[in-house]
């Protein structure tokens, strides 16, 4: 049975308390699991064993690390602002926990004789609660960087804030399309709206295609996925913690359990954006096609399993990205956020809105054509009036460049070296251009 907003108002207080505690414990366990999961997957991708000493197959490694940290010495730099240095990790961790209150794990089940939904609570503005928590979580990072009284953390904190606010806009815009399709901001209603699949016949095989918004709203999904990686400061967008430039970024000066809290918050944030991605785009706790052949798939406690499987799949993609991609340069990263993700997002939203108006309302043919014409006109106008840089003057030829060099310049190596064709590539003759010359080789 699908929960409605009314379901949550009927919860008894001790049921709510059990669910709150359950989510809290689940988050701690998931964090411990994810750290190990990440280390093992990255290790496999790098062809090495990964943690394999502590506990069965090394699965207790992160637990022992976590237990070790409080017993480490806590070092607070002399230049730190003590109070803010103290509360910054608390802000980070608290906001990370709170966001999970509105994530739906499953349908209505019976706990100790009480009918209740597998979700702590749901409100009409659930998704905004998650967004508010993530925007408050930025404070932990910025304040940690500021309060440390050290150069690297300050730079890391500022970078973080610029990065997170840039990608938060893209993330906020990407979910507008979901609201438009589902007509709601409550997570349980969004999951319910994705519940009905469509019958699809493909190559003589009948099956139910998922009503997932990842399929229906593919551009939104892609933008959400990219901005989620940017928002959680994960590779390839982990510039605030770029080791080669900023040591550890905002948490360089943190040690002992304060550092552990930042670590915890980072992993919970990763789990939260994965869970939100599952909820908004991957159908939430609803099982997908081959499983739905079994009629009991979406009842009882089973959906929690499908939900966790989807979340772990999203987390795997996070880890996969980290193992595969090199870190981006900061200017490329900001340019991508502001010049690609945001305009594409806005155009996509308007396009979707136009299509929806054409579909749903019974307009006259004339209005219909006017609308399509207006849309085409807008696209053409934007394309024509798009600010383009001035055309660069054609570069002078190599001979001219050499002649223009002043007397006594640094000696040049011979510039007409031929690279011999590679013996392994028989078809291709390597034609290598010397650096910084015009395209015309005959002038040399």
């Amino acid at each position: 049975m699908d929960p409605t907003l009314q379901t949550f108002e009927n919860d008894v207080w001790w049921i709510a308390l059990i669910k709150v505690l359950g989510v809290f414990v689940l988050l701690l366990l998931l964090t411990l699991f994810t750290i190990n999961y990440e280390r093992k997957v990255v290790a496999r991708m790098a062809v090495r064993p990964g943690p394999n000493q502590v506990g069965p197959k090394g699965w207790l490694q992160s637990l022992t690390d976590g237990l070790k940290l409080p017993f480490k010495e806590e070092i607070i730099p002399r230049t730190a602002d003590k109070v803010i240095y103290f509360i910054a990790p608390v802000i980070s961790a608290t906001c990370a926990f709170t966001a999970f209150a509105v994530i739906p794990f499953g349908p209505v089940v019976s706990i100790f004789g009480q009918q209740t939904a597998l979700q702590v609570t749901d409100v009409p503005v659930s998704v905004l609660v998650v967004l508010a928590c993530s925007s408050l979580g930025i404070y932990g990072v910025v304040l940690a960087g500021w309060a440390s009284g050290s150069t690297y953390p300050l730079l890391g904190g500022l970078r973080s804030s610029a990065q997170m606010i840039s990608y938060e806009v893209a993330m906020g815009l990407s979910i507008v399309a979901v609201f438009m399709m589902s007509g709601s901001m409550s997570t349980s209603e969004i999951v319910a709206a994705q519940g009905d699949g469509r019958e699809v016949s493909l190559f003589g095989l009948d099956f139910t295609a998922p009503g997932w918004y990842a399929v229906l709203l593919a551009p939104s999904f892609v933008i959400y996925a990219i901005s989620a990686v940017g928002e959680t400061n994960r590779a390839p967008f982990d510039l605030p913690e770029a080791e080669s430039e900023l040591v550890g970024g905002f948490h360089t000066e943190y040690s002992s359990f304060k550092f552990a809290l930042f670590f915890l918050a980072e992993y919970i944030n990763m789990i939260t954006v994965s869970a939100l991605c599952t909820t908004l785009f991957l159908g939430g706790w609803h099982a997908t096609w081959p499983i739905t052949l079994w009629s009991g798939a979406n009842t009882g406690w089973w959906p929690m399993l499908w939900f966790l499987a989807k979340v772990l799949l999203c987390l795997f993609v996070f880890i996969w990205l980290r193992a595969t991609l090199p870190r981006m340069r900061y200017d490329q990263f900001m340019r991508f956020g502001w010049k690609v993700l945001i305009p594409v997002n806005l155009v996509w939203i308007l396009l979707l809105a136009t299509v929806r108006v054409l579909q749903t309302s019974d307009l006259e043919a004339q209005t219909r054509f006017t609308l399509i014409g207006a849309a085409v006109l807008v696209v053409v106008l934007v394309a024509v009036l798009w600010p383009s840089g001035k055309k660069a003057a054609p570069a002078p030829s190599l001979a001219e460049q050499i002649a223009a060099r002043p007397q006594g310049s640094f000696p040049l190596p011979p510039l007409d070296l031929q690279v011999p064709p590679s013996p392994r590539v028989a078809r291709q003759v390597a034609e290598r251009q010397p650096a910084d010359v015009s395209s015309d080789r005959s002038e040399v």
């Binding site: 905004l128 609660v129 408050l136 404070y139 009284g149 006594g408 310049s409």
Partner: protein, 244 residues
């Protein structure tokens, strides 16, 4: 007010007031900004408690961003450790400010109470009949559509204003490209090899200690231009007790 709402009010209202006072009284500008966050968060929770969940969440999301901007602004303007000066530059400024502030609050309060005295509330149940969000959308995009469209003009002026104040425009040719830099490096008169590193000496290994050339003079180009040249004090170069 129900019991729960009254409890919430008596917890959060003092918090909001303390935040506002702290914002005015804190000497460190960054602490001021943080007190303001406290006040804004309390207000956001108030809105949610008064059956306006959307406006409450919008308050939290937008104002955290806005205060973040204030925070950055403080960092940019005054640097990290700046504190207010407590010296009064204008005589009687404080007294005048308090009197005028209280007077202004009185006028606004009186004006609002007079203006709203005759207005009958239709009640939350009627207003939120189709849901809070839908109710807001119906009003905002039909009755108050002009105000909504005018907001975009406000946003334009904010963006353009920030652009004019903060942006230093550089034409494409002004910024040296990698090719320009390489040419400058190999131009006659400049030494293309690596720069001498800052000194590693027995008493100091700071990047602020310049390297020495073979004749014993300091190599000016070995230290970064943003660092002032300094000699370490005896305290700085003393043993730090790490050998224990």
């Amino acid at each position: 007010m129900s019991g729960g709402e009254a409890t919430l009010f008596w917890i959060l209202a003092p918090l909001a007031v303390i935040g506002a006072l702290g914002m005015v009284l804190a000497r460190n500008a960054v602490h001021s900004a943080l007190w303001l966050v406290c006040t804004m968060l309390s207000l956001g929770v108030f809105y949610v408690a008064q059956a306006g969940p959307f406006i409450g969440m919008a308050q939290i999301i937008v104002y955290t961003g806005a205060i973040m901007m204030l925070f950055l602004f403080v960092l940019m303007l005054v640097g990290r450790d700046a504190s207010d000066s407590l010296i009064e530059t204008l005589r009687g400024q404080r007294v005048a400010a308090i009197v005028l502030g209280v007077g202004f609050a009185g006028i606004v309060g009186a004006g609002l109470s007079r203006a709203l005295a005759g207005t009958g509330a239709i009640g939350l149940d009627a207003a939120n009949e189709n849901g809070n969000l839908q109710g807001i959308a119906q009003l905002l995009f039909t009755k108050y559509v002009f105000a909504f469209e005018v907001t975009s003009a406000l946003l334009i002026s904010a963006a353009v204003g920030a652009m004019i104040l903060a942006h230093v425009e550089r034409a494409k040719g002004e910024k040296p490209t990698q090719v320009d830099r390489m040419k400058a490096r190999f131009a006659p008169g400049s030494y293309p090899g690596p720069k001498a590193g800052p000194g590693i000496f027995a008493t100091s290994d700071s990047v602020a200690t310049p390297a020495r050339l073979p004749d014993g003079t300091f190599a000016e180009r070995s230290i970064s231009k943003i660092l002032p040249v300094r000699e370490l004090t005896s305290e700085e170069s003393a043993l730090k007790g790490t050998e224990k």
